[in-house]
């Protein structure tokens, strides 16, 4: 049972890397907390649902559509909200309030528009029967979710470390003021990073009906808690630390389900408290947050 839990946790955790990646990228670049992140994931799930049932789009194709659309949606949201936030003395705290409000609005509008019942996409779309990995039976949808997460993470890595825009993004992550002083178009770099963060949330949402069973307008809050545990463990503001954070979260969750199943719900909170008390900067953090 231990080996099974470890294997399942690894694959499940890779998906949660994707869940936390966009949130961490946005925080890393803009130092704002997008509390509506889980709701964008929820919207990604609804988008995949409707793209499947109305247009017959396979989730992998839907992920591409959602990625583009959510990126484009993220840009105006950035320009409407973030520049004003960043003018404030305590933009981090104000962002919590603003995006909490946005989260509530998104959930309410989705409930009104689509109702509150659970929605999901047939699992057979991503393959029938389990995939055997190291002798362990795992749903094929999990393997798809983990694979897409790995591709998305690699793409973010290439963007940050192999493109000029990525270099500028990392410069903003190190010091927004210094980046401005050196003539970097910080608002443009930030807007693109915000759009990418929302797009990553949308892609994670496409696979939510498979990984979480179903989506409802209210799942955003629960996803947010898990996402925060992942990025705090993997270091706030360090997008690539999210990979380790996600895997630790996934493995811990599966071990809890195996040996202390009734207490599994506490895991994200325990991880948050534990990391903040023992190593507040996260596993890969330095004394000051850096890219």
């Amino acid at each position: 049972m231990l080996f099974g839990a470890l294997c399942a946790g690894l694959v499940f955790g890779l998906y949660f890397t994707l869940v936390g990646l966009g949130l961490n990228l946005i925080f890393g670049v803009m130092r704002i907390v997008n509390l509506a992140h889980g709701d964008f994931i929820m919207l990604g799930g609804f988008a995949a649902y409707f793209l499947f049932y109305l247009l017959g789009l396979h989730p992998l194709v839907a992920a591409l559509v959602v990625m583009v659309v959510f990126f484009l949606v993220g840009l105006p949201i950035y320009y409407i909200t973030v520049p004003r936030l960043l003018l404030a003395r305590d933009s981090e705290m104000l962002s919590v309030i603003l995006f909490f409000g946005l989260s509530q609005v998104i959930e309410a509008l989705t409930s009104i528009a689509f109702g509150t019942t659970e929605r999901s996409i047939p699992g057979r779309i991503l393959g029938t029967g389990p995939v055997i990995i190291l002798g362990q039976r795992l749903p094929s949808a999990w393997v798809y979710g983990a694979a897409v997460s790995a591709v998305a993470t690699a793409a973010v890595y290439l963007y940050l470390y192999r493109t000029r825009l990525g270099t500028l993004t990392r410069a903003v992550m190190v010091s927004r003021d210094e980046a401005l002083a050196t003539g970097i178009d910080v608002p443009r770099v930030s807007a693109i990073a915000f759009g990418i963060g929302i797009a990553l949330a949308g892609i994670a949402g496409v696979f939510a009906p498979f990984m979480l069973g179903s989506v409802t307008p209210s799942i955003g809050t629960q996803i947010n808690i898990a996402a925060f545990a992942v990025i705090v463990v993997g270091t706030l503001g360090n997008p690539l630390g999210t990979v380790v954070g996600g895997i630790i979260y996934g493995v811990s969750l599966m071990l809890m389900q195996t040996y202390l199943s009734s207490w599994a719900e506490l895991l994200p909170n325990l991880m948050l408290i534990g990391v903040l008390m023992i190593r507040p900067e996260g596993l890969f953090g330095r004394k000051t947050r850096r890219a």
């Binding site: 049972m1 309410a108 509150t116 019942t117 659970e118 057979r124 999990w142 979480l212 069973g213």
Partner: protein, 420 residues
């Protein structure tokens, strides 16, 4: 002579005045409407069971008001119903505040709890403290009902302690005869399903014919079961009983199908209770031959009050066309059924005092038959009349599923299929 005449006049005046005063007081005491207070959850984990209940309760209110209101015996006339409702968003903390508000600020005449045991759990002590009778729609937790609390009765669902009786009886008889020897129990840790887990565990142990090889609780928020299913498979059970809410069942049966694990007997609460929604989310293949409770939405009870199942289903579909986001199922019936109990209670209560309401509700026990079955409560207010037959979702030959009753023997509509 004059003094006697004056005395007589005084008496006549007094009687006339008294009569006028009494009539005036009586006229003032008749309210313009009957206020019914309730909560609903438009969001959160309980929205999918709460909204159908709330919508069907509103259907009953609209129908009643369209017919001129509900007859209220203490006032000997029909009065319109005013439904005062608030959104608790599936939060017990919010619900506690709002239940208090309904009682102390809105001063409702009748109080109905939100759907399910979690959101009812906070209503029970509040109603009791305020000596307000609680119409408990579907909060079936066994701990809600006690001999020293007369301020509650369960309307539309049997108390959780008796739900799984037929599961255990079936396994102990037909199951054992078919070679089933071991059972796994996986349940969500909330009042509703924990009570059922405790009950079925007790029934199985009391009979002594089956061995429980796995018995674990998981948080109600659990949304992935792959590892749990693999862990269950490692204990080699013949029968698996999964006791959870709608979201739990969707995730469990999807993961079970994806995992490729097979068990001879698999039970879930909501494949039958919310067949439409579960089939949409899990698919026909994932639910074929799954055992479940047979809810009133799948069995035609003969009512002596209100609509039949077919009539209600037609009315529901008219009000909630496909895609509206609120599915037809057992919960859709529960709200309407609760309205019918309110209707008979108002028509028979001696006064609007809450103990008189209690007496009127309990007097209906065994006499009121609705599309939900026979309304019968025990001395503590726990519902015992509306039974939960054991059914199985079997392929109907047209690519769909048919829920057939396999136990108890007097209600059977089909033969069980137990895996090899």
């Amino acid at each position: 002579m004059l003094p006697r005449l004056l005395l007589l006049l005084s008496l006549v005046t007094l009687i006339c005045t008294g009569s006028t005063v009494t009539e005036s007081a009586h006229a003032q005491a008749v309210p313009s409407e009957i206020k019914i207070g309730t909560l609903y959850a438009s969001s959160g984990p309980f929205a999918s069971i709460s909204m159908p209940v709330y919508d069907s309760l509103k259907m009953w209110v609209d129908q009643t008001n369209a017919a001129g209101g509900a007859f209220v015996k203490p006032y000997n006339k029909k009065l319109p119903i005013k439904l005062i409702s608030y959104d608790d968003q599936s939060s017990t903390a919010t619900a506690a505040t709002l239940y208090n508000q309904l009682i102390t600020q809105d001063k409702v005449d009748l109080l109905i709890s939100d759907s399910g045991s979690v959101l009812t759990s906070v209503a029970v002590p509040i109603a009791r403290e305020h000596k307000m009778f609680l119409f408990d729609v579907s909060g079936t937790g066994g701990t809600f009902f006690s001999k020293d609390n007369p301020y509650i009765a369960l309307m539309a669902d049997p108390v959780s302690t008796i739900w799984p009786k037929y599961i255990a009886d079936f396994l102990d008889s037909t199951g054992v005869a078919e070679g089933i020897k071991t059972v796994a129990i996986l349940y969500a840790t909330n009042d509703f399903t924990t009570t059922q887990a405790n009950a079925v565990r007790g029934f199985i142990k009391a009979a002594g014919k089956l061995q429980i090889v796995y018995d674990q609780g998981v948080p109600t928020s659990t949304s992935n079961y792959t590892v749990l299913i693999n862990n269950i498979a490692n204990t080699n059970p013949d029968a698996v009983l999964h006791l959870g809410y709608v979201g739990n069942d969707i995730a469990f049966f999807r993961n079970l199908q994806d995992s490729g694990q097979k068990f001879r007997f698999v039970f879930g609460i909501y494949p039958g209770e919310e067949q439409e929604g579960l089939t949409k989310n899990v698919g026909v293949a994932g639910l074929t031959n799954v055992f479940s409770y047979v809810p009133p939405s799948s069995y035609h009870y003969t009512p002596n009050l209100g609509m039949t199942l077919d009539e209600f289903h037609a009315a529901w579909e008219k009000a909630h066309p496909s895609g509206s986001g609120v599915e037809f199922g057992a919960n859709a019936i529960y709200g309407y059924m609760t309205g019918l109990v309110l209707e008979r209670t108002l028509a028979t209560t001696e006064s609007m005092d809450q103990m008189a309401i209690h007496n009127a509700v309990f007097a209906l026990s065994g006499k009121l038959k609705t599309l939900d079955g026979t309304f019968a409560v025990d001395e503590m207010g726990a519902q015992t009349g509306e039974i939960t037959p054991l059914g199985q979702l079997q392929a109907d030959g047209n690519g769909g599923l048919n829920l057939v009753v396999v136990y108890p023997p007097d209600l059977v509509t089909g033969k069980p299929i137990i895996g090899k």
